[in-house]
Symmetry: D2
Subunit: 212 residues, 4 copies
C-alpha cells in the first residue's frame, strides 16, 4: 500500500514530517511519500523522503508567471504530483494538459475525484493512479473505508474497466492501520492522508500506527 | 531604481541567473531581485540574490492543497511577491486577501495592472508597490517608456493620488539602461524585466547593460 | 433610496416579484428594480419593472460561448447590472472590462465589494455605484446598518474620496423600512435586497414594509 | 443528423436566425436547434425553433448570483444545453454537477471536449451526447471531417466503448452539406455550427445548403 501524506498549507514543519516518513519507510519497508508546498519541495526532497507536488500547472516552459511548472517541481526533487484535489479542482482540459506536463517532467500522477463517475472520467485521461476522496469525509476522522465502502469498491471497478493498470487510492478520514487494511480489502492500492499525520504531535508515531 | 527579474516558467537555470544578479547587485550597487518558480525559491535564495515569489495565494495556513502559501515562500527565502501579473490575473477580493497573506509572512508586495484605472484600484488595497505593464507590449522588445510614456506617467499620478508612499514600477519591453533611465524620468521607482535577462545567452552582461 | 432586489437563483416566480415591485414603485413613488436570472430578463422587463442583470461578462460581441453579453441583457430589457457580487467575484481586470461592456450596452453599473479598501478599488474603475455587502451578514437577517455601521460609513467616505459622483449602496440583512432609513442616515444612496423579498410569501407586502 | 447552431456572442439577430432554422427544420424535415445567449432564450424559443442554452451552472436553486440556472433556462424555453465548450471550459467536478442540474431541469446535454481522451472522460459522466471540436479548427472554414477525420472516428470509438447510447457530434469548420455527410460517414450523429450560419448574410440559405 502506497501512503501519500499531503501537507496542504498546514503550519507543520515539513522537513520534520519528511524525516519521520523517511525513517518509517526505511524501518518498516513502507512506501510513504510526502507532498509539501511547492516552495518546500527542495527541503523535503533533501531529507531523503519520497517527495510529491500537490499540483502542477497545465503548461510547459514559457510565459506563465505564477504557475507551478512540472519541470521546476521535478528539478527541486519531486517524483510525482497530485492533480485535481478537492481543494484545487481543475478544468477537464487542464487535468489532461497537467498530465501531459507531468509526463514530460517524469512525475508520477494521481488524479483525485469525488465519485466513481468522475473517477472513470479521470482514468480515461491516462494517469498512473486515481484517488477517490468524498469531500464530506475529509478531515472528519471517519475513514471512507468505513463510512462509504461502496464508493471505494465502485471507484476501483470503474477504474479497472477503463484500464486495469491504473492504481486506485482512497482518502478522507484514514488514520489507523485498520483503516489502511480495510482500504486494501476494498481493492485500493494506496491511501491519501493529511491532517492525521501533518498535525500529529508525533508524526513518526502516527505513521508507524498506520503502516504496522 | 529597483530591478525585478521575473523568470516566469522559462527554461533558464534560475541559480545561474540569480548568481549573475547577485554579482551585478554587489559590483554595481544595484537593487536587483529575482522571481523564480516557487519550487526554485530555496535554491535561488541560497545563491544570495534577493528572491521574490511570482504569486502567493489568498490564504493562510489550513486545508489549501496546491496553494502557494506566503509563509512557505518566505520560509524558503522569498522577501517579496508579485501579485496579479497579467499572466495570473486575480479576483479583486483575492488581491486583497493575498496582500494580507503577504503581510503576515512579511513579504513586500507589488500588484501589477494593465492601465492607470486598475493601478489606482490596486493602490487602494495598500500594497508596497504597483506595476503597470501594458500586456500588448510584454515580450515585444519595445519599451513601455517609449511606446506609451503616458501610461507610466498616468500610473504614477494615479498611485500618488491614492498614497504617495506606494512605489510605482513599470514593465514590458525594458532591455537597456536607457529604457530604465527613461522609466525613471517618467516617475517610476523600478522596472519589471523577464525574457530580456532570463533568456539572454549571458544574463550577467544583460543585467550590466541595464544597471550601468 | 434605490432598492435593488436580487433574485439570485431563488426558486421564486420572477414575474410575480417584478409585478409586485412595479406596483410598489408606482403606488409609492419608490425606486425599485429587480435583478433576475439572465434567462428571465425579458419576462421581468415585460412586466414593466426596472430590470437589472446580475452580471455581465467582460467581453464584447464575438466567440464567447456561455458568456453573459451586456448587449444581450440590454436587448432583453435590462437597464443596469450588478458586478462582482460576493457570490460571483471577478478578477480586477475583468471588473474593468465588464464595466466597459456595460457602458457600451448603456447599462448602469453597481460594483459590489466586501470592505472599504475594496470599495475604493472598485470606485477607481469608474462605475455608477458601488455596494458594500459584508459576506458574513448576507442572509442573516441582521442588517449591516446595525451590525456594522462603520463599514457603511467608511465605504461612503472611501468612495467619495475617489469620486463624489459615485453612489454607494449597502446590502446584507436589510428587511425593514427602519433598516433602509438607517442606511440612508449612514450616507448610503440605496440598498441591495435578496431573500427578504424574493423568498417572502407576499413580496408586495415585503416591499411595502421597506419603502413606507 | 442533428444540427446545433451556436450563436455565441455574435452580433446577429437571434430571432431571425431562429426563424430561418425553424423554416428549414419544417420544410426539410431537418433536426436543427439554436443556442443563443441566455438572455435571448425566451425570444428564440417563442419563434418556435428548438432552443438550447450555451451553458448552465453547476448549481441548483439558491444563493448563486450571476449563475446560469438550468431551471431558468428551461423556464425560458430551452430544451438542451451545451457544456464545457472550448470557450467556456469547466472543472471536471462542475461538468458532473452541471449535468445533474440539466437533468433536474430536463435539458438534453452535450459535453464538448478537445480530443478522444477528454471525450471518453466526458462520456463517463453520462451526458446525452458529446461533441469533439478541435480548437485549432474552430472558425477556420476547414471542416474537422476533412482536416482530421481520425479525431472524429476516435471520438466515436471512445464514446461507444463507454456507452453506446451516447451520441457523438463534431464541430469546427462545418459549412456545407458535404461536410455534414462526411461527418455522418465518420460515425457522428450531429454537428455543431456557429459563424457559418450566425454570420451568414442569409442564414436560411446557409442552413439549406447544409441540410440538403
Amino acid at each position: 500500500m502506497f501512503v501519500l501524506v499531503n501537507l496542504k498549507a498546514y503550519p507543520c514543519d515539513p522537513v520534520a514530517v519528511a524525516e519521520a516518513a523517511e525513517r518509517v519507510a526505511t524501518e518498516h519497508g513502507a512506501d510513504v511519500a510526502i507532498a509539501p508546498q511547492a516552495a518546500h519541495i527542495q527541503a523535503v526532497a533533501q531529507s531523503g523522503a519520497e517527495t510529491w507536488a500537490q499540483h502542477v500547472s497545465p503548461v510547459g516552459h514559457g510565459s506563465h508567471t505564477g504557475s507551478t511548472l512540472a519541470e521546476a517541481a521535478a528539478d527541486a526533487g519531486a517524483v510525482g504530483t497530485l492533480l485535481n484535489h478537492s481543494e484545487n479542482r481543475l478544468k477537464l482540459a487542464d487535468i489532461d494538459a497537467s498530465l501531459d506536463a507531468a509526463e514530460r517532467a517524469e512525475l508520477s500522477t494521481v488524479v483525485c475525484a469525488n465519485n466513481p463517475d468522475q473517477i472513470a472520467a479521470a482514468a480515461a485521461l491516462g494517469p498512473d493512479a486515481v484517488a477517490v476522496e468524498p469531500p464530506e469525509l475529509i478531515g472528519t476522522g471517519t475513514p471512507v473505508s468505513q463510512a462509504d465502502p461502496d464508493i471505494v469498491r465502485d471507484a476501483v471497478a470503474a477504474t479497472k474497466r477503463v484500464d486495469p493498470e491504473i492504481e486506485v487510492y482512497c482518502g478522507a478520514g484514514i488514520s489507523t492501520g485498520e483503516d489502511i487494511a480495510a482500504a486494501e480489502e476494498l481493492g485500493a492500492d494506496g491511501v491519501l492522508l493529511a491532517s492525521g499525520v501533518a498535525k500529529a504531535a508525533d508524526p513518526q508515531a502516527a505513521l508507524e500506527a498506520l503502516v504496522d
